[in-house]
């Protein structure tokens, strides 16, 4: 399997994990390790001065893992730039999952502000991975603005609905010059495998693993699905027939009747 390269850094794993919604930091850490992921998102919150024990960071800091701070909670490009500076200071990395979704009902990303913020953050030296609409024109613009990847959504965050944007993802993948990470909405390993078979460079999964009956086992399932999908893509899938007429895969000589 080819390595994934983002901003000059090599990744063996093509599965990125989010850290929301796990029942405990311990289960989250076990799921992260089971998934073999090398990229893990982290959000920010205001510190609670009375709570010294709530430290999720130590559960995700491993030498093989690139932290990917996100800007969740910001409403526009200006707030995103501020959040990015806070993240770089707190976590010591210039990698950033840029997400600007001001509408709390659907959490859909604001394309105008995302593009504006990408342009500014790239100039400030950030490695910007923008969460974005599955809009092929926007993805080209983000790439031209210097985004390290594009991360179009499969379906709204946390819905587990799979590749609702399938046809647009295909166009994005076909024309992208940067890695395409399918983010949001992936609800089952089969969804991730399909995205990878289509040629996506990676998948970002959170809810589907975190809320599974057994998150650690589900993390393993996603790991295997992403590997299977990628291997199939690299191996080259056969074409799909136009009709239901069969094409024999065994010799049709009637050896029993002769």
């Amino acid at each position: 399997m080819e390595k994934l390269i983002i901003a000059g850094r090599e990744f063996n794993s093509r599965l990125f994990l989010g850290t929301g919604k796990f029942n405990s930091n311990e289960i989250m850490e076990q799921a992260i390790l089971a998934s073999s992921t090398e990229m893990v998102t982290v959000a920010m919150k205001r510190i609670e001065l009375n709570d010294k024990n709530d430290d999720m960071l130590k559960h995700i800091q491993h030498p093989h893992i690139q932290l990917l701070p996100n800007t969740s909670g910001v409403r526009d490009a200006e707030e995103a730039v501020f959040a990015a500076q806070m993240a770089r200071e707190a976590f010591g990395t210039n990698w950033l999952k840029l997400e600007i979704h001001p509408d709390p009902r659907y959490l859909l990303p604001d394309s105008v502000e995302t593009l504006k913020a990408t342009e500014r953050l790239v100039k400030m030296g950030f490695v910007v991975l923008p969460y974005c609409q599955a809009d092929p024109v926007l993805c080209r613009q983000l790439e031209e603005a210097g985004a390290a990847t594009v991360m179009p959504l499969a379906a709204p965050i946390g819905t587990n609905k799979g590749l609702q944007t399938r046809d647009f993802l295909r166009i994005i993948i076909e024309q992208a010059g940067v890695p395409v990470v399918v983010d949001a909405g992936i609800g089952a390993p089969s969804h991730a495998a399909e995205a990878m078979e289509m040629g996506a460079s990676a998948c970002l999964v959170n809810t589907a693993i975190a809320v599974a009956g057994d998150p650690v086992e589900m993390a393993t399932a996603f790991k295997e699905a992403v590997v299977a999908g990628r291997r199939a893509y690299e191996a080259g899938l056969g074409t799909v027939a136009h009709s239901f007429e069969a094409s024999a895969s065994s010799p049709l000589t009637a050896f029993l009747n002769d």
Binding site: G18, T19, G20, K21, F22, N25, M28, T41, V42, A43, M44, K45, R46, I47, L49, K52, D55, M56, L57, N70, S72, F82, Q85, M86, A87, E89, A90, F91, G92, I157, L204, N206, T207
Partner: protein, 66 residues
Amino acid sequence: MTIYVNNQKHEVADALRVDELAASLQLPPQGVAVAVDNRMVPRAEWERTELKADARVVIIKAACGG
């Protein structure tokens, strides 16, 4: 003087520096970021950054999120 830390009122000594505030709040040596009046203050600048009355200090840390 009065300052606000994550929107909570704090009474502190006049001209308190950010590094002194961080020490009094027992902030950990990593994993946090501090902003004063909407400007991020790098750790290296904490000891030369004096707070003014009514300063709005925001301190953030890691949280779970996707």
